[in-house]
């Protein structure tokens, strides 16, 4: 009997409509719809699309938890063996939805999942650990190439066959190290690589070292007296009691707190959530990490025009680069939207 596959797509690929229909609510249809027809063909009879679940991109983005729950229920009713989502190409909201659906399916239904996205789709960084994401072109023109690769990956998982290297299988690396038996022993591989490096020929390291990004510096503040300055910290300063439960290490979230009416931080109002240093001094006087007292003073003195009354905080200790990047991007967007001129980031 053929394996049962459910396909998740958005309103556009289901032919419901474009942006004007993006608030379309989750809906299930029997059999394949839109790109599912090609996918069904690529599955070659070993697996079959028994149902398609459709959801508008805006509806998903605006009601993530609720939408996920509804979609999961609709998927579960088909009693599938696997779920394929997208491909979403470079559509950010669609990619995020595909990733989130795959993640939820893997966690709740414990069955294989595959989706497809363009490398720069924000869904890639968010969900590449949770599901196989096939590398696609940036637009639907890449559909023809993406479908067979996605079909092959889902079939391999269904049959319990080993999944090969990302470049061979066409998926974006999940970032996990996997053992395999190479053709040659390690010493021979090392000497081969050595000879190439000595000759200046290209070679590929078997273990890439962790790397950090660089960004070009932004232009300076022209007129400080007209500037709005915000504070951001990785020192873990939070309102007393740590209302959002930011983790002491390996933070999975950041906090966003108002300082309206706050002239200075104190042991009564704030503390640190950071587990990476002796918290005694920061708890005694949180201004030692987040200098709110001085910022207020400078605001009064007119050195700066305005102290931005929301501060952003997380714990830098052991926090993954991926999470830190995500926090950084979100915080930067919020500060930009609030017309902040410049930012002081404090770290312990």
């Amino acid at each position: 009997m053929a394996y049962r596959v459910v396909h998740y797509i958005n309103q556009f690929f289901a032919g419901v409509g474009g942006e004007e229909k993006a608030d379309y609510r989750p809906e299930a249809r029997d059999g394949a719809v839109g790109p599912g027809l090609a996918l069904n063909g690529a599955l070659g009879g070993d697996a079959e699309i028994v149902g398609t679940v459709i959801c508008g991109d805006s509806y998903f983005a605006d009601n993530i938890e609720e939408a996920k729950k509804q979609i999961l229920e609709l998927i579960a009713k088909f009693e599938p063996d696997a779920v394929v989502a997208g491909p979403a190409f470079n559509a950010g909201r669609y990619g995020t939805a595909c990733g989130a659906v795959c993640e939820a399916v893997a966690n709740e239904l414990n069955i294989p999942t595959v989706t497809g996205m363009y490398e720069e789709n924000p869904g890639v960084d968010m969900f590449k650990k949770a599901t196989y994401i096939v590398k696609t072109a940036d637009s639907a023109r890449g559909m023809k190439d993406a479908i067979p690769v996605m079909a092959k990956l889902v079939l391999k998982q269904l049959r319990g066959e080993p999944i090969g290297k990302p470049e061979e299988e066409g998926y974006i690396p999940k970032g996990v190290r996997i053992n395999y038996f190479a053709d040659k022993i390690g010493a021979v591989r090392a000497v081969d690589m050595f000879v190439k490096k000595l000759k200046g020929e290209p070679y590929t390291t078997e273990y890439p070292m962790p790397v950090f990004d660089r960004v070009p510096p932004n232009p300076p503040v022209a007129n400080l007296a007209e500037a709005t300055i915000a504070l951001v910290t990785s020192g873990g300063i939070v309102p007393k009691g740590n209302p959002d439960h930011i983790e002491a290490s390996s933070a999975s979230k950041y906090g966003e707190y108002s300082l309206a009416g706050v002239e200075s931080l104190s042991a009564e109002t704030h503390e640190t959530a950071h587990g990476g240093y002796d918290p005694t001094y920061a708890n005694e006087n949180p201004n030692r990490v987040l200098p709110v007292d001085v910022m207020r003073e400078l605001e009064k003195e007119g050195v700066i025009k305005k102290f931005h009354e929301t501060f952003y905080t997380t714990v830098g200790n052991g926090t993954s680069v991926a999470n830190a990047k995500k926090f950084g991007a979100e915080i930067a967007q919020k500060l930009k939207d609030a017309n902040v001129t410049a930012v002081i980031v404090t770290s312990t």
Binding site: K129, I163, K165, P166, P173, K174, G175, V176, R177, I178, N179, Y180, F181, A182, D183, K184, I185, G186, A187, V188, R189, A190, V191, M193, F194, V195, K197, L198, Y203, T205, E206, Y207, P208, M209, P210, V211
Partner: protein, 428 residues
């Protein structure tokens, strides 16, 4: 220095009244070995057993593996400082019982020793499922301190290896391999146009039960120094450690160091292999700094263009590896590193405890945390109850049906950082 390895191929083991070699079979007098080893008063009991390729046999806990060797011609005897005198080795002719190995087995500390399966999935991971193994199982005298017990086991393995090889003297070699590198004065002038390279050989030297011996000297007490690769083939480097089974270099892999072998093979073709530098892996930071600087200084004195660097163990030796790499690259010496990884069971954690951007050419011997299931074997040599507490094993790892669920860290030689095996890893 010129050394001939006279390799006699052992294809089978049998018990006999006299230890001798005949038609590929090594006959072993069990009583004679037991008697010889019991001369050491530190042992209460010694027993000898066989484990051959393909058999449904598991050995645990394994301490060391030694290849039987003895000198046929040339100065001194193999394993200088233990069997031989402390004079130089590496010249003349050495008899090698290839295809045979002495495996020492005993509980020294209740963890940190390994598993060898002679068949099944576990056999794919250990190089010693392919050798005909003479297994020594020890029990110490009551109250013997652990490091004394380790020394006794170490000596017993070397003695037995030497004893077996000596009994085969006179047998015709199946193969003779010749290894020769000239003195530095000559080496510097030869192979014009080829880059000069050396091998930086890191030795585990963290303390009692974590040591390696060079001519009988505890390696943590040495400054990095030069060694001729032929000396290594005669047993100048002996393992004395009980660290994680998968990536400690047992004496067998020192004797058969595949990096040395491969560098010899490409010598004069792709590069001019001028020699080996040995260095240690001590735990004080001052020692780490001193040794890495000193080792790289030796490489600079040799004027080499490149270094292959191999690590032993994991954790703090990662710091030595990275220091060696960074200092060499800063001195303009191109490096390739050989290591293994501890990326967690899911492979998602950081593999090494240290990193640097200069380390852009790394060969990996795999993720030691990968979990495998080793099915029940018909026969277990040693102490099966230790599967639970061996490194990489965990409570419940010895299942009721006799199978073992474990990380490959517990398998002897599985992620050998001399590059002994085909295992590797990629980012998936």
């Amino acid at each position: 220095m010129k050394l001939e390895l006279h390799k006699v191929k052992v294809t089978d083991l049998k018990w006999g009244d006299k230890t001798l070699f005949d038609g590929g079979t090594l006959y072993v007098n069990k009583a004679e070995i037991e008697e010889m080893l019991l001369e050491d008063e530190r042992f209460a009991k010694v027993s000898v057993d066989f484990a051959k390729p393909g058999e449904s046999v598991r050995i645990l806990p394994v301490k060391d593996v030694v290849e039987p060797r003895c000198k046929l011609e040339g100065e001194n005897e193999v394993f200088p400082g233990f069997i031989g005198d402390v004079d130089t080795v590496g010249c003349g002719k050495t008899l090698v019982l290839s295809g045979a190995a002495v495996v020492t087995c005993g509980r020294i500390v209740g963890f940190q020793e390994g598993i060898i399966d002679m068949s099944g999935p576990g056999a794919d991971y250990t190089p010693f499922s392919k050798t005909n193994n003479v297994v020594l199982v020890f029990e110490p005298k009551e109250g013997l301190e652990k490091h004394e017990y380790e020394a006794a086991c170490r000596m017993a393995g070397l003695k037995t290896a030497h004893y077996l090889a000596c009994a085969v003297k006179g047998a015709a070699a199946d193969e003779v391999e010749t290894y020769e590198l000239p003195c530095f004065a000559e080496a510097m002038k030869s192979h014009e146009g080829l880059p000069k390279v050396a091998y930086l050989y890191m030795l585990q030297s963290q303390g009692l039960l974590h040591d390696t011996y060079v001519y009988g000297v505890d390696a943590k007490k040495i400054l990095p120094t030069l060694i001729h690769p032929n000396e290594v083939m005669d047993g100048a480097i002996v393992s004395g450690n009980c660290v994680s089974a998968c990536d400690k270099n047992n004496t067998y892999s020192h004797l058969n160091n595949p990096v040395i072998k491969e560098m010899y093979a490409r010598h004069g073709k792709d590069f001019n292999f001028v020699g080996c530098i040995i260095t240690n892996e001590n735990t004080t930071l001052a020692d780490k700094k001193r040794s890495s600087s000193y080792a790289v200084k030796l490489a600079r004195l040799l004027g080499v263009d490149g270094l292959i660097i191999t690590e032993e163990g994991f954790g703090n030796p990662d710091t030595d590896l990275i220091m060696n790499c960074r200092k060499a690259e800063k001195a303009g010496i191109k490096t390739v590193l050989l290591t293994d990884e501890y990326a967690g069971r899911d492979g998602a954690s950081q593999s090494l405890a240290d990193a640097c951007s200069e380390a852009d050419a790394v060969v990996t011997a795999g993720n030691a945390n990968e979990v495998v299931v080793l099915p029940k074997m018909e026969k277990v040599i040693g102490f099966p109850e230790y599967a639970d507490i061996i490194a990489g094993g965990f409570d419940g790892s010895l299942r009721e049906d006799g199978s073992i669920e474990t990380e490959i860290q517990a398998i002897t030689g599985a992620t050998n950082e001399l590059g002994f095996n085909r295992i590797a890893a990629y980012t998936g």
